[in-house]
Structures are given as C-alpha cells and as structure tokens.
Assembly symmetry: C2
Homo-oligomer: 325 residues x 2
C-alpha cells in the first residue's frame, strides 16, 4: 500500500481523499490542516486529522505527501519546505513562475533525497503533456489551447470585489468557430477575443446601480476588457441552484504538415463535471509514480514531462503491453 | 546530430525520410533495401542507398535504425536480428503478438546492449498512451476506441482478392451517434456494428457479376460480415482520382466518474491526411528518445509506456517547463 498524506483540506484536498478511495493500492494516512483538527471532519475511516504544525512527526508514516495549498502564497513556501522531509506532489499553476518554483523545490528535494513533483493537474499537467507530445511529433505546426466551458474562480472572485456585488459566477466559453478554425489545419491566427467569450452570473445588492456594475465588469483590464462579455443579474437562489457546480474542461489542438503538404490535426479535450476532483485524480495517479520513482532511488524535482507513463498505472509492464498497447 | 538508418523503403520508409528532414538534430545516413540499390532513388542528398545484406558494415555509422518492414513476416525477424547490432525502433502493429515480439526483441537488445523500441506509431502508439493515461487517471470508467474515417489497407486487399475485382479502396467510418454516446459519459455498451461502418469503392472487370461481388464483400467473415457495408462500383480513373490518398485517424475516449457521481470525459483524436507520414513522424520523435536513452546507458526493449515524454522533444527540460508546462 502506498501511504498518502494530504496537506490542506479544501476542494482539492477533498478530491484527493475521494480519488485515493478509488485506487486499491493506496491508503490515506493523515490529513494536515491549519485549522483546529477536531473541527475538521474527513470521510476516510482510520485516517487521522492532524495539525500542519505536527507534520514532521509523520516522516516515517507517509510515502507521498500531496500538498493542496494555493499557488499564490502557500505552495511557494510549502513545497520547498516539505520536500526536505517527504516525497511530495503539488499542483502549482502560476505558469510564469514555474521555473523559479522548480529551482526552489529541486534544491530542497535533492537535499532531502526525495522526489518532488510540481504543477500536476490538467493545465498545467495533461494539457502540457499533450502540447509537448504533439509538438515533438509535428515540428512544423501550430498550437491552440482553449479553456471551458467552465468556471473560472479567479474571474468570479474579481467580480465579487466590485462594489454592490454580493456573489458571482463566471464561465469561460470557447468560441465554436475558433475551434473549427484550429481544427481545419489552416493554422489561423486567433486573437484573444476570437477564442473565448465570458459569461457572468451576478447577484447584486438591492438598489445597486446595475448599469455601473455591468460596465465595471466589461471594462476590467486583464480579466474582461479583451473579451466579449455577457452579464446576467440573477438572484442568490438561482445562483445557488443552477451555478453551484465547478465544471471545466478545454481543448489542446495542434495542426501541422508533413511531406508534400499533408495536414494532420491532433486534438486532446476534457469535459469535466468537477474541476477539483479531476485535478485530484491526475495528482493521485502521479502520486503512484512519485512513490515508484522514489523506490527506484530517483531524487529531485520532476514534472509530467519527466515521468514515464507506465509509472502512473497500477498494472505491470506485461499487463500494459498485452491489454493497452 | 542523431544519425538515422532506414531499413526498408516503402510508404513508411519514405515518410521517415521526410520526417527526418523536418528535425534539425537528425540526419539520414543510409537507406537499406532488399532491392538492387542502384534502382532505388531517395530524396536526401548525401545519404547512401545500400543493400540490406550490408547493414552490419554500418554499425559505427548509425545511432538509431528505423525498421520499416511489415508486421506479418518482416518485423518478427528483422527487429530481434538488428537489435543485437543497433539501437532500433519499429512499428509492429499485430496487437495480439506484441508480448511475444517484446520478449524476442528484449532478449536480443539486452544481449547487444542496445535500446529497442517496438510498436511505435499511432495505434499502437499514441492511442495506446492515451488509453493508459486516461485509465490511470479515471480508474472507474470505460474506454472507447474508434478508427477513421480512413483507408484500411487490409480490407482493401481483401476486396481485391475477390474474383472479378481489379482494384478497391475501403474506408472505415466511425458512426457519429456511437461517438456521441461514448462522449455522453453514460458508458453505453456498443457492438461492433454500432461503432463503425465500412464503405467500399470497387473497380470490377468488364462484364463481371456485380451482384455476386457485392454479396461476397458484405458476407466476408471477420472483414465485413459484422458491419453495415456499402459498396460502390466505380471506374479505375475515378478511383485513382478521388481515392488515391491514405487518410486515417480516430478517437480514444474514456469516460469515468469521481466523487458523488461527477462525470468526466477525456478524448484524444487524430485527423490525418497521410497515415504513413504521421506514423513516421511519431517514430522519428521516438527515435530521438531512443538515442537519448541509449546515451544514458539504458538497454532492452521499450514501448511508448516506458519513455518519459521529455525524451521526445529537442527542447531542454528548462525550455519545456518555461514554454509548455
């Protein structure tokens, strides 16, 4: 059995717990929380809830620690710290800061003699892998990544910060004609506005100036100004009833040419009812890989690019070749 | 520069030559043929055409030998033989015999101290990889593989063997409603007949009994009897004009559940103008991986499951993390 620890018990941590229950070769040993442990209820019988302050007393009890903090402030500290003491895995997703995070984590992991995987999930993660495979196969070509239809937490939060807004949910939606263009093999150049639209469901305070709120949303730099944005004002009840899920997904498309102008299109897509549960499922498969790589004596920071696919599967090499190749 | 040899110069061998020209870190050293070398014209300036009988005189001149023989009789002999003397890669695609081929090739490669990759292409190959990744991520779920729209050489050949048939081209076509069912996340059970149809374009001899030919096609065991098959009789000119390409493609879909019944659908698809050129492009990316793994001292038989993705790309680890993760 691979003994797993979960460090941080929000949406992602709960998804990890649920994914562990789907994998017979893994067991959840402990959940670590910054809250008062007695206030945190988990689903797994036999697993412990402990304070994050006590994590080092579990050094010999946990094979892989799954770190479920946020990318903005938690993971840049937690992953390098914990990689000294445990094999770890995180879902660090601030793309621009990945090289810096990698260097910090690599130094700690090497010092501690552990494996530390970073940026595991679907983007970064499975989408990155598919960009890489497709680019290596079709060196003359063009990449397209589309996200959605799905909820963007960052954009939803940005709307909630507007004066007079009580609650909000924002969907990122790929534009069908842009998808068709990317799939055509004609390598179109697509602007930000052409690729995605944004749809916002907003609960406003009684008597708030709806026109001002809508205008503030649509003109918000970085978040909305470069997109065609639709704003719907609805009640809190309707928001709770129809928009409480966290679906997401997207498309990675590469089109390229070979020989005398033969066109090829490679497409990978995800349609997810629950973004955190799917992210967790990817992480748990890679936690298996971390355990195996560590068992073989490998050390240092790794990303999805560095992991031979067979490490993810509970099946043996012979089973994989017989049934899946 | 990675020095490549091509063993066998048919459609696939020509595709390999063309793919090498798209990769700056590779050069074609020699093409080996069973024909009289002076009768074989290749496109690459500076590369040699040599007799396959003389291949062992190139032991120090070639880093990776790409073996382009057929799976029925060529590869079961060629790959184990050549793996003693070279790092090799093949596209062995008789799924049921992969375990036996692996064992034979592994023994030779270990004896010779080389890397030997087998069954590289898109199915087996990229489709296998996607089945494996998706199965590891969503352990509770169902796999679907669809092929086409594309030309099946085996089925085209089977039609050509019918008395009164001069030429033929057979397309395998996935059924749209079955694809939609697989994508629905409802895990439908799909029969062979529900998943694919077969469309045949046939050139018959003057005066041939068309009704008999059509009946022989539609009732042919294994090839057509289990499918809804359409037969069109056309002229040789029309066949040459409209059906001379070798397009193919297909879909690998896995749907699964997590948590409290949240559904997820992972889909990988290919739309290929030229089946042999795309297969060749996959093989050439893996030839780079073979070269690198051999440079690190690895030996033995490998499949796509065993190769860390980063080995396929000419980019460094730091470049991959910065630009693709």
């Amino acid at each position: 059995m691979i003994r797993i620890g979960i460090f941080g018990y929000g949406n992602l941590g709960r998804g990890i717990e649920s994914a562990i229950a789907q994998n017979d070769d893994m067991e959840l040993v402990a959940v670590f929380t910054r809250r008062e442990p007695s206030n945190v209820k988990i689903k797994t019988q036999g697993a412990i809830v402990a304070s994050s302050d006590d994590v080092l007393s579990f050094i010999d009890k946990i094979d892989v620690m799954v770190i479920c903090g946020g990318s903005a402030t938690d993971l840049p500290k937690q992953t390098p710290y914990l990689a000294r003491y445990f094999n770890v895995i995180d879902s660090f997703d601030t793309h621009a800061k990945i090289p810096e995070h990698f260097d910090n984590v690599d130094a700690s992991a090497l010092e501690g003699g552990h494996i530390a995987m970073i940026s595991v999930g679907w983007d970064p993660g499975m989408f990155s892998l598919n960009r890489m495979y497709a680019g290596a196969i079709l060196p003359e070509g063009q990449d397209y990544t589309f996200w959605g239809k799905g909820v963007s937490q960052g954009h939803s939060d940005a709307i909630r910060r507007i004066d007079g807004v009580l609650d909000a949910r924002q969907y990122t939606i790929p534009v069908e004609s842009a998808l068709e263009g990317a799939r055509s093999g004609n390598n179109p150049t697509l602007t930000t506005r052409q690729k995605h639209t944004r749809e916002c469901f907003v609960v406003a305070e009684d008597g708030a100036d709806l026109e001002r709120i809508e205008n503030e949303i649509k003109t918000m730099p970085n978040y909305f100004a470069d997109y065609d944005t639709t704003v719907h004002f609805i009640t809190q009840d309707e928001l709770n009833e129809k928009h409480s899920g966290i679906p997401h997904g997207g498309f990675v498309i590469r089109s390229g040419v070979t020989g005398n102008g033969n066109k090829h299109v490679i497409e990978y897509s995800l349609k997810l009812d629950s973004n955190p549960e799917f992210t967790a499922s990817v992480i748990v498969a890679y936690a298996r890989a971390v355990y195996r790589m560590a068992s073989e004596g490998m050390v240092g920071c790794k990303t999805v690019f560095d992991v031979a696919p067979a490490y993810l599967s509970p099946k043996t090499g012979a089973e994989l070749r017989k049934n899946l190749l």
